[in-house]
């Protein structure tokens, strides 16, 4: 479930979460908690989709083209998603 977000660790979308692409970004729905989240940017949707393939949350942001000056905002968004259990830490490869 919910864990504190550390951008240096490896993350993935929780297996009970469905992500749906939208014009504004994406909608995420957690079937277990029945919580809905709005990802209000395409770049954030890309970050979240790529989490499972990247060695860390920070790397996922870099790969999606998040600039240094945006990094804090994106890490905050990921932290919110971690708090609500939408994303979960995975064992590092």
């Amino acid at each position: 479930m919910a864990t504190a977000f550390d951008p240096g660790r490896a993350w993935a979308l929780d297996p009970q979460v469905a992500l749906r692409s939208e014009r504004f970004g994406a909608l995420a729905y957690h079937f277990g908690t029945r919580r809905l989240s709005f990802l209000k940017s395409q770049k954030l949707a890309t970050v979240v989709r790529s989490l499972a393939d990247q060695p860390s949350g920070h790397d996922a942001c870099l790969a999606a083209g998040v600039a240094e000056h945006e990094m804090a905002a994106y890490e905050r968004a990921l932290a919110t998603l971690a708090t609500s259990g939408m994303i979960a830490e995975r064992p590092s490869a």
Binding site: R20, F24, G25, L27, A28, F31, R34, F38, L44, E70
Partner: protein, 403 residues
């Protein structure tokens, strides 16, 4: 079914400042697929609640078959509709109810269903407790049997509590206790909370709409303005702990907006599929004026959602009439379309329960004008009453239930 606000999910905006603008504006113009929808599986019901928003009672012979329901679920899966709020009627009276629930969850469509509890056997409770993808809400409309049974019928309180006993015994925590707030139960909010706590359930309060049979009893049942204010304060204190199905956004002028999306999602992010496959803008608007199409039409539900003229109209910027100049318009947005329609008020004006009292003024000015009625009516009526169908008094036999 009991009033079930379509978006029941908790809401977390996750938003680094982006160029997309406000989410409500995104939603106002509609999504390619609903976030969730309400699906009344049957008009059949063993109860005859005086305020039934779908005028349920008798099964409609044109009801969608199992295969047709499964085809709809296939579409919902392709559209990535996250979940359906299943109601009725009493949905569990359908012989294929559990089959359809299993089919939906196996196809990535979550299920929350509303029930009066009559068919929640111990075995059904255990089955529910074992599934992460199925949620249940049990309806009561009074914290005591006298208040509840006056609206939902004799024995219905005991029936619902038995169902909740079984859910709790099966280890299902967090199911929903669903209450439509009325003038008669508005003073029992703490008692409802105590019942929910006793069962490890979550309380869900929703708004009484003058839809379906409730059009006949709304004047006597809808909370007074003093009660609305107390309800707002009570909900504000509890935040996300009490669910509301986003149904009280018209009360936002009393203070800060309540948790939730706070917009009318009708035809934009939610809709209703009725037992015969008719698609309406929202569960509180079963009337031909809000009928967008039928899932049996060419192109199925997807085409109705994406191409219906009615939904296209709802997704255009709306005129708000005299509300436009109100300083609270941004939070209440003129309130509930169905509440206005079924009280005979103009859609581009205040909600009948406008927190500032503008609705009451309009209602008083209405005089004896006829209000619209839900077109499909599956109420169980005696043959004598059927003979009077052409009379303007047709349907008023239901008033007897209040006596």
């Amino acid at each position: 079914m009991s009033a079930s606000g379509p978006i029941g999910a908790s809401v977390t905006p996750s938003a680094p400042a982006g160029p997309v603008g406000r989410l409500v504006d995104q939603f106002q113009s509609g999504l390619d697929a609903p976030i969730c929808l309400t699906w009344e599986l049957t008009y059949a019901c063993n109860l005859a609640c005086v305020h039934c928003l779908s005028s349920s009672g008798r099964r409609d012979p044109r009801e969608l078959s199992t295969a047709e329901c499964q085809a709809v679920i296939d579409e919902l899966q392709r559209m990535q509709v996250f979940y359906v709020n299943i109601g009725g009627g009493e949905p569990t009276v359908r012989r294929d109810f559990w089959e359809l629930v299993d089919y939906a969850t196996a196809h990535d469509v979550g299920v929350k269903f509303s029930t009066n509890g009559s068919r929640l056997t111990p075995a059904a409770a255990e089955r529910l407790a074992a599934s992460d993808y199925v949620d249940v809400q049990v309806s009561i409309d009074g914290a005591t049997a006298d208040v509840n049974d006056a609206v939902r019928g004799p024995g219905s309180y005991a029936m619902a509590l038995t169902a909740m006993d079984r859910l709790a015994a099966a280890g299902f925590s967090g199911f929903k206790l669903s209450v439509v707030v009325t003038r008669q139960n508005a003073g029992q909010l703490d008692d409802f909370q105590a019942i929910a706590d006793r069962y490890g359930a979550q309380l869900r309060l929703t708004r009484l709409r003058p839809s379906g049979r409730a059009v006949d009893v709304w004047d006597e049942l809808h909370p007074t303005s003093a009660q609305q204010r107390e309800l707002y304060a009570w909900l504000s204190d509890r935040g996300e702990r009490v669910l509301t199905g986003d149904s009280f956004f018209h009360l936002a002028p009393f203070g800060d907006p309540l948790p939730g999306l706070n917009l009318c999602g009708a035809g934009r992010v939610v809709c209703l599929i009725d037992p015969v496959g008719d698609v309406y803008a929202c569960p509180f608007a079963i009337h031909e004026s809000f009928l967008a199409g039928n899932v049996r039409d060419q192109g199925g539900f997807t085409a109705v959602w994406r191409e219906s003229a009615l939904f296209a109209e709802l997704r255009r910027p709306q005129t708000a009439g005299i509300c436009t100049s109100c300083e609270h318009f941004d939070s209440c947005r003129g309130g509930c379309m169905a509440a206005k329609f079924f009280t005979g008020l103009p859609l581009d004006g205040p909600d009948p329960e406008c927190a500032l009292g503008h609705g009451e003024t309009l209602l008083a000015a209405r005089g004896g004008q006829q209000v619209p009625r839900s077109s499909p009516d599956h109420s169980r009526v005696r043959p004598l009453d059927r003979a009077c169908d052409e009379s303007p008094l047709a349907g008023t036999a239901l008033d007897v239930l209040l006596a």
